[in-house]
Symmetry: C2
Subunit: 616 residues, 2 copies
């Protein structure tokens, strides 16, 4: 047997030439990868542009700009947006406090209007009121949008946004009255800047309160135009954009890394006498990865749907029509929660599916995980968001039951049916009508039964807020079921529209089926509960679901190739396009700083081994 | 309103005095915390000893010693164990390779016996055969147990363990023929030493093959005594000890941190007009944390059960009786997988339940998570372990069906019943008989239906290995159901034995009920599937489950206090005994190195703000 020559393997001679185990996966693609990439980008021209442009930093700077664009008057937009665009200032967004998160009304920072000087005086009245977490604020930002309780002549008017300068534009020193710094290390591996901010008698001119929808006149008169809920609109925008910018990208990268690795890694013999099998040929590995791949596509199309809805809502708001706000808030909240939760779990599954090597930072997976995990928390904690969606659902369910009109996404709640699933064999479960209907049934059942429990409790004398609290676990289930239904329905409708792209339509149909059946398989209780789906039908679901894994497995590599990530952006020894996994791991490991001779030997190990520890 | 005086708050005057919100939780404990701590430790004397002794480092050194104790001859034990005990050497355990994990037969490292010199010659024949991951090996260990394919006169005898010296005891330099180093950064935050090892014609004397159960005689004759499976016994020991040493401790710490924080953190108003509510008073927060607390107790008792079984098995093996090995292997594999998976998910839930502050490293939760996540992968990847348990289950099911005797933990498989759950109201679901029976029913159903599918496939002409692969998703479910059943049954039996400790028995009974009902509630499909549990009964389960949350919530703080962690070992700004959360967060954050003036301003921000970037 040949001995390993270290030197030969350190020269990186094989890097770049595609591992044959990976190359063979690409030869059998059932569709054109480049065309699928173009579909995901929204056209070949968009693909070209995306490939030409690099990443843009300062996400929070964009949030700062967005909040001014949405909440600022025309005059404020004209003043601040050009400064921000030209990076003459660095913006951030200071909403969360040390003791206060999603519950905006609980924020404690104050802004008192001083008619004498025509200024607002901002203060942090106690430690729990310190701004805490705002991105880019601890070390970088020069300006920030501070959310504070507005007081005029001693009366509180609730939360309003104020532009506050916190650092000098000349030398970056903190402005008078400002204490700010970094909140310390977090779970992500990069040292992201998240800041804290204390305000002590900080004065800003009257013009710095963002005043598209409410204004303080020089004499202290308070004027509101439109809904008070408009303050939430910035967050709606942020939630939707974070889905595509941060969350989906992370899941797609994780799928790419884990899938490519799974056709290179061989473990155990599937058939006696053959060589060890690619781990993607094991049903259990397929069952880990392929549903994540399907979810990545499903939520990509959900995001398209949300984006379109948001654009429509935005146009209406420009016309001072706020009717779409509740639906938009409910959908963006619910999907922010459902998608971040699903994708975080998905990235973790991908990481674990790569075994020990997934746990190595060199795989690129741990940093994807720690980054995406944060998305479950920031811009609204998921449970609270789901309860906001649920509140909307219950309200609409009541309205629909009373024959009143409700927004388009919830009209289905009016149609309580007591039928049974009509599927007769496992192939029937590949019909979008069958499974979409099943999802709809579950969403209606969970909403209506929870509404009934709520009513019963209230009628039995339980106080409204207590009754609500006692239903929250089930309300969360209802909100998730609603979002899951919309996602399945939207995926099915998207597939239908691909009729001119036969090859792509076929594989997208498989993914849509897998997404839907995986949801039923892994949440079977919800579908079995009232007998809508029978035990025999659930066995059909299982059979169809497992069959699909074997079908999609064949296109797994082309399906992740279509996400079109460069090796540089994946930054993974396991996931590179050429599949030279072991070589790359070894080369990258050798470069690790931990391979310098450490002082630990002289200090600890040597005395231990020489039994001289006691003499120290 | 009072202004925040930074200086006052930085002096830490309040640290150490217990936050009244936390103190009030301790005044109403329904049981004696100190007595419960003693129960967990196995007696008050054990508690005293535990409190007096610090942590011991070099886990892998212990594994090295354990493998020699179990696999070494008396002579080898007499030679190596004293050296290791006195730290005259530092041991590690080199099994996993770059390209090979759990599948031991696939390891590629070779050990060729040379009769001329009475030595084994060890080699790493190719890059995928490099030892990769062994703990303490990259920078610390002087010796290691290498698992390699044994060749004598050209014939392969399979995997055997060899003691190999890798570094000089004098100056710690690598021995001739050894290339070793660190595999690079991993997901944990501490820089644990995980190493790689390349062997090139490394010679060790014949006496260095661990030979309690098989030996190579001077002439090359190979002699085996006892089962070949004995090599797996070290791993069985390691798996069981890791459950208590690493996994349960992490979950218990996470529960302590999240629970204490949840009675200090207030968010939103539960009742109009009152102050903001403690977040633990929200049903959704209880539903996140309390099932994790119940699981920590449940698995603590499972661990006692496994430990006792292991001790019995070990005594038998000393007498060269290997009969208990298969059951021990199946239970330790299955529970290693189920407990690490459950506890990892639990720690993540605790982390997320603390919102943004949980994501801060200052909470202590991220490092608990990244550490426990690794436990899902090392010492056997969980899916593979579950499939080993499943193989044992199917074998025993077949044997039991044929009337043959089977080991005690699986005798229940013989008793296929087709009854229905007899519960008539929600209180019936607080009867251990009712829920234990339900778990047993599910375990039998999943095992028997998968066995039937396997048989059907084989009878329809599918090759055995293909049929097995097509059943693996369901086999994993069966293995989990088996373990879950044993855990519930064992918890219920443990509670029953606490009759002399009334206060503790009562709260443990609540936790046992919660553990069992949470499992049914969150996996309802398995219980509804064949109608064993009806929809109406499932609603009773839900009602009882939600009721229990409110009951256990009252004792939540005393229940985590009983885990008896010092503030030092928790190392958490959120979880300290005094509950001074915000104060500690602020003080710790100020000490963060990220609060030093960074060079980033001069280098990047200043040119950007002064619009001089282009001139650079």
């Amino acid at each position: 047997m040949a001995l390993l020559e270290t030197s030969k393997h350190s020269q990186g001679s094989v890097l770049g030439s595609v591992n044959p185990d990976l190359a063979s996966e690409r030869q059998t693609a059932s569709f054109c990868v480049e065309k699928l990439t173009a579909l995901l980008d929204g056209g070949a021209e968009q693909t070209r542009i995306r490939r030409a442009v690099g990443d843009v930093a300062f996400l929070l700077h964009r949030v700062f700009m967005r909040s001014i664009s949405v909440l600022g008057s025309d005059k404020q937009v004209a003043k601040w947006i050009p400064l921000a665009t030209q990076h003459r200032l660095i913006g951030s967004y200071a909403q969360t406090e040390l003791g206060h998160g999603t519950y905006l009304q609980g924020l404690e920072t104050t802004a008192v209007f001083d008619t004498a000087t025509q200024e607002f005086i901002l203060n942090t009245p106690k430690i729990s009121a310190m701004k805490w977490w705002p991105g880019d604020m601890g070390r970088s930002a020069t300006h920030t949008v501070v959310f504070a309780q507005l007081y005029i002549h001693g009366k509180c008017y609730g939360i309003h946004p104020f532009i506050v300068q916190i650092r000098s534009l000349q030398d970056h020193s903190l402005c008078p009255g400002i204490t700010a710094g970094d909140i310390g290390p977090k779970m992500n591996f990069e040292h992201t800047d998240n800041g804290y901010l204390l305000l002590k008698n900080v004065r800003v001119p009257r013009e710095n309160m963002l005043s598209k929808f409410c204004e303080v006149r020089p004499d202290g008169t308070y004027v509101r135009q439109g809904s008070q809920k408009i303050n939430y609109f910035t967050m709606t925008a942020v939630r939707i954009s974070l889905i595509s910018d941060e969350v989906l990208t992370a899941l797609m990268k994780a799928c790419t890394i884990a899938t490519r690795y799974s056709v290179v890694r061989r473990q155990s013999k599937l058939k006696p006498g053959e060589q060890e099998a690619k781990i993607l040929d094991y049903q259990t590995q397929q069952e880990k990865l392929l549903p994540q791949l399907a979810a990545a596509y499903a939520f990509h199309f959900t995001n398209d749907y949300l984006q379109e809805l948001f654009n429509r809502g935005y146009r209406e708001i420009q016309k001072k029509n706020f009717d779409m706000l509740p639906e938009l808030h409910a959908l963006s909240s619910g999907f922010k929660a459902v998608i971040t939760q699903h994708c975080t779990a998905g990235v973790e599954i991908c990481l674990r599916a790569c075994g020990g090597h997934g746990y190595s930072l060199l795989s690129g997976l741990p940093s994807l995980y720690t980054k995406i995990l944060a998305s479950c928390i920031y811009e609204g904690e998921n449970t609270i968001l789901l309860l906001q969606t649920a509140r909307f659902l219950i309200k609409c369910f009541m309205a629909a039951s009373a024959g009143q009109p409700v927004p388009p996404s919830v009209t289905y709640l009016a149609a309580v049916k007591h039928g049974k699933c009509p599927a007769k064999n496992k192939v029937d479960f590949l019909s979008p009508d069958i499974y979409t209907e099943a999802y709809q049934h579950v969403a209606i059942r969970l909403t209506s039964s929870t509404a009934a429990k709520l009513q019963d409790l209230i009628q039995s004398g339980v106080k409204k807020y207590d009754a609500w609290n006692q239903c929250t676990v089930q309300l969360v289930q209802a909100a998730k079921a609603h979002c899951h239904y919309i996602a399945v329905k939207n995926f099915a409708e998207t597939v239908e529209k691909l009729e001119t792209k036969a090859g792509i339509q076929k594989i997208m149909k498989h993914l849509c089926d897998l997404f839907a059946l995986h949801g039923i398989f892994s949440n079977s209780g919800a579908f079995l509960h009232d007998g809508y789906t029978s035990a025999a039908q659930m066995d059909m679901v299982t059979a169809s679901y497992l069959d699909l894994l074997a079908v999609i497995r064949k296109d797994a590599v082309p399906l992740v190739d279509a996400f079109d990530f460069t090796d540089q952006s994946l930054n993974s020894a396991l996931g590179s396009y050429d599949g030279q996994v072991y070589q790359r791991l070894y080369e990258w490991a050798q470069k690790s700083p931990t391979n310098q001779m450490s002082p630990a030997y002289e200090r600890y190990l040597k005395p231990l081994l020489h039994n001289t520890l006691s003499k120290l």
